[in-house]
């Protein structure tokens, strides 16, 4: 039995979502864009799901654009908004973005910088990952196309002042996108009240299926589509609509929102974080637990350890967590979030993120707390041993 503490990477399907997914997928053919009865039946599902999703997020149904998930939503938001703004006013070609955003935003921004002449102002964050609003206010001006600011950080869990940032941006005539992938289903999210113009979400982070998500687009916001085809979603996002995915996403959000505020999860996280903080050399990163931090997030760096040693040792002990965000290439790089927060590469190397979710239990926390002490001890010895033999050899061969 393993303790799964990597819910920020992906969490299990909620039973309600699984039921909706299977029920809809089992209905047989039905393209929501078709005019016959099978199509109409699928369309009813998609539209009911759209209404339910909007209701759970304080948005209007017409503001929901279904996508394949967080990365697609971020791409559509950042590239689509940048291109629309630039097309309307060529002088507006600057993007304001904190350096601690998710790669789905950062890499879009860097791509636009490299290929489409975007100018970028990287906004500083403080030692907890919180964006500097004064820097944002200073950078806002006639040349700014958009601001992108995540709702909550995926690594250290720090919640950003999105509403305040949106006010500042709007005062300068600039729209704001928020990547709320980690927030939706974990925090009360009210799109209208937030003032954001665009909001990205991903179903599998709150118990929906992988491959489903949405971009919430405030009425009146112009986006240049990033994929072209059948003209679905008012032409903004072509592609056959996924009725089963939409139904499961809506069901998962409904179940997740019903649990908010999730004091049970917060209680588990507080106990975990307190135990982790007692490990020698542990430093808790991110905002103080409470209203400014994701309820399921615990992030700690361990002095003198390498994250890949820790994840191996914990995995071997049946505790599944991560060093930060999941990395496709598999080569550990120091987290850009921690570097932006001012940590050195050495400090950042010993990072672990534990993230709890809807089906986390006390037993998961117990397992992590039982395993962490010995793992940190051993990982620290491994760091120390690394170069001893080599140094010895080089000293021997020095006269060559």
């Amino acid at each position: 039995m393993t303790a799964y503490l990597d819910h920020a990477s992906t969490t299990a399907l909620r039973p309600e979502a699984l039921q909706a997914l299977v029920a809809q997928a089992g209905l047989g053919a039905g393209n929501p864009s078709s005019l016959h009865s099978a199509g109409r039946r699928a369309r009813v599902t998609v539209e009911e799901s759209r209404e339910a999703l909007a209701e759970g997020l304080g948005a209007r149904p017409g503001e929901v654009v279904w996508t394949s998930g967080g990365t697609e939503s971020d791409n559509l938001a950042v590239k689509g908004l940048f291109r629309a703004r630039r097309d309307a006013d060529a002088a507006r070609n600057r993007i304001l973005v904190p350096a601690a955003e998710h790669h789905a935003v950062l890499d879009c921004v860097e791509w636009l910088e490299a290929h489409e002449g975007a100018k970028v102002t990287w906004l500083p964050v403080d030692g907890t990952g919180l964006v500097d609003l004064d820097a944002l206010a200073d950078a806002l001006g006639e040349d700014v196309a958009l601001v992108s600011l995540m709702w909550a950080n995926n690594e250290v869990g720090t919640i950003q002042p999105v509403a305040r940032a949106a006010e500042l941006a709007h005062a300068a005539g600039v729209p704001l996108h928020t990547d709320a992938v980690q927030a939706v289903g974990h925090l009360p999210v009210d799109f209208a009240a937030s003032g954001a113009d665009l909001l990205s979400l991903s179903a599998h982070k709150f118990g929906g299926p992988v491959g489903s998500g949405a971009l919430i687009v405030k009425r009146g916001t112009t986006l240049v589509p990033q994929q072209h085809g059948g003209g679905q979603e008012l032409g903004v996002r072509s592609g056959t609509l996924d009725a089963a995915g939409a139904a499961a996403t809506a069901a998962a959000l409904r179940a997740a929102v019903a649990e908010l505020p999730d004091t049970r999860l917060e209680g588990l996280r507080d106990r975990l974080l307190e135990g982790l903080a007692h490990v020698p050399g542990a430093v808790v990163r991110g905002a103080v637990p409470g209203p400014d931090r994701l309820p399921g997030n615990a992030h700690v760096t361990f002095v003198g350890c390498e994250g890949d040693s820790l994840t191996y040792l914990l995995d071997a002990a049946g505790v599944e967590c991560s060093t930060g965000s999941a990395c496709q290439a598999g080569v550990p790089q120091p987290s850009h979030v921690l570097l932006a927060m001012g940590l050195s590469a050495t400090e950042a190397a010993g990072a672990l993120r534990f993230s709890l979710g809807w089906n986390s239990t006390d037993a998961d926390v117990d397992a992590a707390l039982a395993a962490i002490g010995p793992a940190v001890d051993r990982a620290r010895r491994a760091t120390g041993s690394r170069t001893s033999r080599r140094r010895h050899r080089i000293a021997e061969g020095a006269h060559r």
Partner: protein, 361 residues
């Protein structure tokens, strides 16, 4: 035992890991990321440490049902293997980077980290055998398949390293049999071609790689009497025994081919001469490493000076930290910097780095 299987993404290391699993060990696969530039990790060039290799290794580990990790040892690799390689060429010697990698990466950086994390051994896909002697100590021996034997590149391991090494392919009858075994096991790497070149020079252009690192260092090509025959842009472009690419226009007076006899990086001189002057009857080697008791007094052994060279009978004697090697039969084209591996029968006793040679004539 808890075994760390070094998995390159090739067929040998995948089958080695599979055999370690079959033997009942608790095996964890590790792919070493050795290239410092993450860009090239993603561009899929040939050779080691491309992202494709790491995915092949991961796929094999998944099929074997073992955990798999990528460990970044690129800092160690660049410092201990790549920079050593460049420095050795700059000093007029001929290094073998695979030897260095075994000595300082696979059975040092990787092994040390593994031991610290609770592993007992590192398993690789090398063709060599660990045999336990009457005293219970681990001995390093040649592979069963003489054609694939790789004990030479492992001769730099000391006793402690050998004691923590595992070579599951050592008794494989042939490489073809290992490929067939990979096929039987359903490993997708079964048909993957062997890697040949130096892994950090995937295009095979060693001279160009060195020129990038060392720049132009022009000098003269002379014969044994000091007569200038031509010029070059860097002594690092030459190896003792080299015949092609000397760039000397005129043929020798006697019409016979000329070979590189020696390289003097300080005065930037490459000396060439006839083939018979390449023959050596004795070697001096430094930095000896023994995985067995060091020879006491003159000892009859066999020595081997390159990975796929034939062993030659010789007498070795340790004088201080210097190994004197008297060859019973002459060797051709031996370059300073090469490793001389010392064998007793099939057993590797140790090795040293060649620092000088005694010509036959």
């Amino acid at each position: 035992m808890r075994v760390l299987a070094a998995m390159s993404g090739g067929v040998d290391s995948a089958v080695a890991a599979a055999r370690a699993v079959d033997a009942g060990h608790e095996v964890v696969g590790v792919h070493m990321a050795l290239n410092r530039n993450p860009g090239t990790l993603r561009t899929g060039s040939r050779g080691c440490c491309t992202i494709e290799d790491s995915l092949d290794a991961r796929r094999a580990a998944d099929l074997l049902g073992i955990p798999f990790y990528v460990w970044d040892l690129s800092d160690d690799f660049v410092e201990d293997v790549v920079e050593d390689f460049v420095a050795e060429y700059a000093a007029g010697r001929t290094p073998n980077p695979c030897v260095r990698c075994n000595e300082r990466i696979k059975f040092a950086a990787l092994l040390d980290k593994g031991i610290a994390l609770g592993f007992d051994a590192v398993a690789t896909g090398h063709y060599a055998q660990i045999v336990h002697g009457a005293d219970g100590r681990a001995q390093l021996h040649r592979a069963a398949d003489a054609a694939k034997d790789q004990s030479y590149v492992l001769a730099v391991l000391d006793e402690d390293q050998v004691a923590h090494a595992m070579f599951p392919l050592g008794d494989a009858p042939t490489k073809a049999e290992v490929r067939a075994e990979a096929e039987r096991r359903g490993l997708p790497v079964a048909k993957k071609p062997d890697s040949h070149d130096i892994c950090f020079i995937p295009d095979g252009d060693t001279r160009g790689f060195l020129a990038d690192k060392l720049g132009e260092v022009p000098g003269e090509i002379v014969d044994e009497n000091g007569a200038v025959l031509g010029s070059h842009t860097g002594t690092y472009g030459f190896t003792v025994g080299q015949r092609k690419g000397l760039g000397i226009g005129r043929p020798a007076p006697d019409g016979r081919p000329r070979y590189v006899l020696s390289i003097e990086p300080v005065n930037r001189t490459v000396t060439v001469g006839p083939a018979e002057r390449l023959q050596v009857k004795g070697l001096v080697a430094v930095d000896p490493i023994w995985n067995s008791p060091a020879p006491a007094g003159p000892t009859e052994v066999h020595v081997q000076v390159r990975a796929h060279g034939d062993p030659v009978p010789a007498v070795v004697e340790l004088l201080g930290e210097e190994l004197q090697v008297t060859l019973r039969a002459p060797l051709n084209g031996v370059a300073p910097g090469q490793t001389v591996a010392v064998y007793s029968g099939t057993r590797v006793l140790g090795s040293a780095t060649i620092s000088g040679t005694t010509p036959v004539s």
